[in-house]
């Protein structure tokens, strides 16, 4: 079956491209590999994230160091004359006699 592209061949790269590409590749291979921190700092979004995290940490430290003030006074439990008998295992109806003097 003959196709519309039979008898053609695709365009070739220009001959001078070889030297240019290989020179660029060798240069890139010899260049020092950037460290992880450099790679991270090269990214703008990551820099913003780092800044935000840093600010949050500073804010957290400031909040922790701030004086919290005196603890609120707790009112003492009200005192009265009533004496609640200890748990005896009886129902309230059964203990009514014991509770009577207190009431």
């Amino acid at each position: 079956m003959s196709g519309p592209l039979d008898g053609f061949r695709p365009a070739s790269p220009p001959p001078e491209l070889r030297n240019r590409v290989l020179a660029a590749a060798r240069e890139a291979a010899e260049a020092p590999v950037p460290g992880l921190l450099e790679l991270l700092l090269a990214d703008r979004a990551l820099r913003i994230c780092f800044g935000a995290v840093g600010l949050l940490l500073i804010a957290q430290l400031l909040v922790d160091r701030a004086p919290h003030g005196a603890a609120p006074a707790i009112a003492p439990a009200a005192q009265d004359e009533a004496v609640i008998p200890s748990e005896t295992g009886f129902t309230a109806a059964e203990q009514i006699d014991e509770l009577e003097p207190a009431l």
Partner: protein
């Protein structure tokens, strides 16, 4: 009914296309590059640059962009040669890198800059009549979407199966086959109509 028959034909075409898996003869060169031997980049360039350049040219439509894609690919390989370690189909893998690089390059290009009028193909013989045909075929190819052009190049000229074209361009196999067939059909229509 007719749709079902067309679908059957397509499925049959995909199945019987044959696993035109290219014997990857790059093993020793790739091993050397993966081990960080800078001298191995030259043979690797000789083996791969024509395919990378043509694939990028058919994708981007610009010789300058295609040359930049070739450079991008080799710089990437040179800076991280371990990428090629253990790759079963280096040729296909490198074309996948080139495909991504070509897309990135087109994405970053200014829309007001028009693509150059470089020929995407040449006549195999040297006669002037075929050269005119090549120019006309190039003009027709430029009317196709870039993805269809790329599929045509990879399947027709580079000889990859639809499955491999799909892997290189990161689309389903059916999509790769569709792109090729639609592109060829449109090419026939354009070239037939202009005769």
């Amino acid at each position: 009914m007719a749709d079902a028959r067309v679908l059957d034909v397509w499925i049959l075409a995909l199945a019987t296309e044959g696993e035109r898996v290219r014997a990857d003869d790059l093993g020793p060169i790739v091993e050397r590059v993966a081990c960080g031997e800078p001298d191995a980049l030259g043979p690797l360039y000789d083996a791969l640059a024509p395919e990378i350049f043509a694939a990028a040219l058919w994708r981007t439509g610009s010789r300058a962009d295609a040359a930049d894609v070739v450079q991008d690919v080799f710089v990437k390989i040179a800076t991280a040669p371990a990428l090629l370690k253990g790759v079963r189909h280096p040729r296909r893998y490198v074309l996948t890198i080139a495909h991504r690089a070509a897309i990135d390059r087109k994405r970053g290009a200014r829309p007001d800059v028009s693509i150059d009028q470089a020929l995407l193909l040449h006549a195999s013989g040297g006669d002037a009549g075929r050269a005119v045909d090549a120019a006309r075929a190039t003009a027709a190819l430029r009317e196709l979407p870039a993805a269809q052009r790329e599929a045509i190049y990879l399947h027709h000229f580079a000889g990859y199966s639809f499955r491999d074209v799909a892997r290189i361009t990161r689309v389903p196999t059916f999509t790769a086959a569709s792109r090729y067939r639609l592109g060829i059909a449109r090419l026939r229509a354009i070239l037939g109509g202009s005769r």
